[in-house]
């Protein structure tokens, strides 16, 4: 089970996010690094001169002081087109397939296996929580139609959350779309929970 202390924290952070940009900016500003406040002071002093500039200053304030956890999860923007995200369970199946051939492969001294292979396999197997990656993929794939990216779906599959609340807590990028697609996510979590039950 995850750290239950997180639930007390969740009340605070969910309140912060519901109130909107300014509060989260103010909250983040309190604990953010020095340079952003210095920059803000110069913007604010310029903004005091003309009313029009105030809006720019405010806009600058919230963007400068945004919670880094919120706007950093843009995995898909970093990935070129020929990259595809794999769920841990899918990767485990692929790597295990290679491991099964390892005895035969190791007989040929010319064949070299990357050093990270063992660690990758071990991690995939220990982190993989589903025995059937295909059914997980079938359950989560439709969420793409509700605005989730491939990488967000993979993070959900890897974490294997119990409720939709966990999904929104761990993927702040979804918070902005909460009203729109909380129901499909809840449905998917229920389907995933069914997979947990022993057959």
């Amino acid at each position: 089970m995850s750290d239950k202390g997180g639930k007390a924290g969740s009340l605070l952070s969910s309140k912060g996010s519901l109130k909107g940009k300014d509060d989260s900016a103010a909250k983040a500003k309190a604990r953010k690094v020095q340079f952003s406040t210095e920059g803000l002071e110069s913007i604010m002093s310029n903004g005091a001169k003309s009313g029009g500039k105030d809006k720019v200053a405010n806009g600058g304030k919230s963007s400068a002081a945004k919670d880094p956890h919120q706007n950093e999860h843009r995995v898909d923007q970093e990935l070129p087109e020929n990259f595809k995200c794999l769920m841990d369970c899918e990767a485990a199946v692929m790597l295990q397939g290679i491991q099964d051939h390892m005895v035969m492969l190791s007989r040929d001294p010319a064949i070299k296996i990357p050093a990270s292979f063992d660690k990758g396999l071990h991690y995939a197997k220990s982190s993989s929580k589903h025995s059937n990656p295909e059914s997980v993929r079938n359950i989560l794939e439709p969420l793409k139609n509700h605005g989730l990216t491939e990488s967000e779906i993979c993070v959900i599959a890897n974490v294997y959350p119990e409720t939709a609340d966990v999904v929104f807590a761990l993927l702040p990028s979804l918070k902005g779309k909460r009203g729109i697609n909380s129901q499909p996510i809840e449905d998917s979590m229920n389907e995933l929970a069914k997979l947990k039950q022993p057959m």
Binding site: M1, D3, G5, G6, A91, K112, P114, G120
Partner: protein, 180 residues
């Protein structure tokens, strides 16, 4: 997270390996590809190279002037591992220090979780030191911890990544095995 990538690489076969019979040639190309793949270990863009899964295409060979080697463009699929900022992952603690712990996340040996990013946890000194929270959750050696990645760094010289992770956020922290 794991990535499946399709890559176009150039594989160079030395002239002495160009025996007649295409099967030996294909084998030579494959061996050379696997060797290059294993040696490369990791790149900044794709992360740690784990395994080649399929070989899609071997293009026409081009003879290189001066050396007599032949260069074959190949397209293949591979599985790699890379962590991204904002990603939620589970790592295993392998070292506990006064100011933080080091986690192993897959091929990444040193993902650092600073004590400043462990709100509510205090360091407990001892032969096997650990961090304890007010709710009696323990972060010690060999404990699995769910973390969020705050930042990553690619070290060109060592050809590896380092990561900075944190527990600031809901549902993050040590994971205990489920009660069955």
């Amino acid at each position: 997270m794991f990535l499946k990538v399709q890559l176009p690489w150039n594989v160079i076969i030395a002239a002495e390996n160009l025996k007649p019979g295409s099967l030996m040639l294909q084998r030579a190309i494959l061996i050379r590809l696997l060797s290059d793949f294993a040696v490369k270990k990791a790149t900044k863009d794709m992360g740690y190279f784990l395994a080649v899964t399929t070989l899609d295409k071997i293009g026409e060979g081009k003879v290189r002037q001066h050396t007599g080697d032949v260069l074959f463009p190949v397209i293949f699929n591979a599985v790699t591992f890379k962590v991204f900022k904002g990603e939620v992952l589970e790592g295993v603690v392998h070292k506990v220090l006064k100011h933080g712990v080091f986690l192993r996340i897959g091929p990444i040996e040193n993902a650092y979780l600073s004590s400043s990013k462990m709100p509510g946890y205090v360091y407990v000194l001892g032969e096997n030191p650990y961090f304890m929270s007010q709710k009696n959750h323990k972060i010690a050696k060999d404990v699995v911890v769910r973390v969020v990645v705050i930042g990553t760094k690619w070290m060109e010289a060592e050809r590896e990544f380092q990561a900075l992770v944190g527990l600031e956020g809901d549902y993050l922290g040590p994971i205990s095995s489920p009660d069955m």
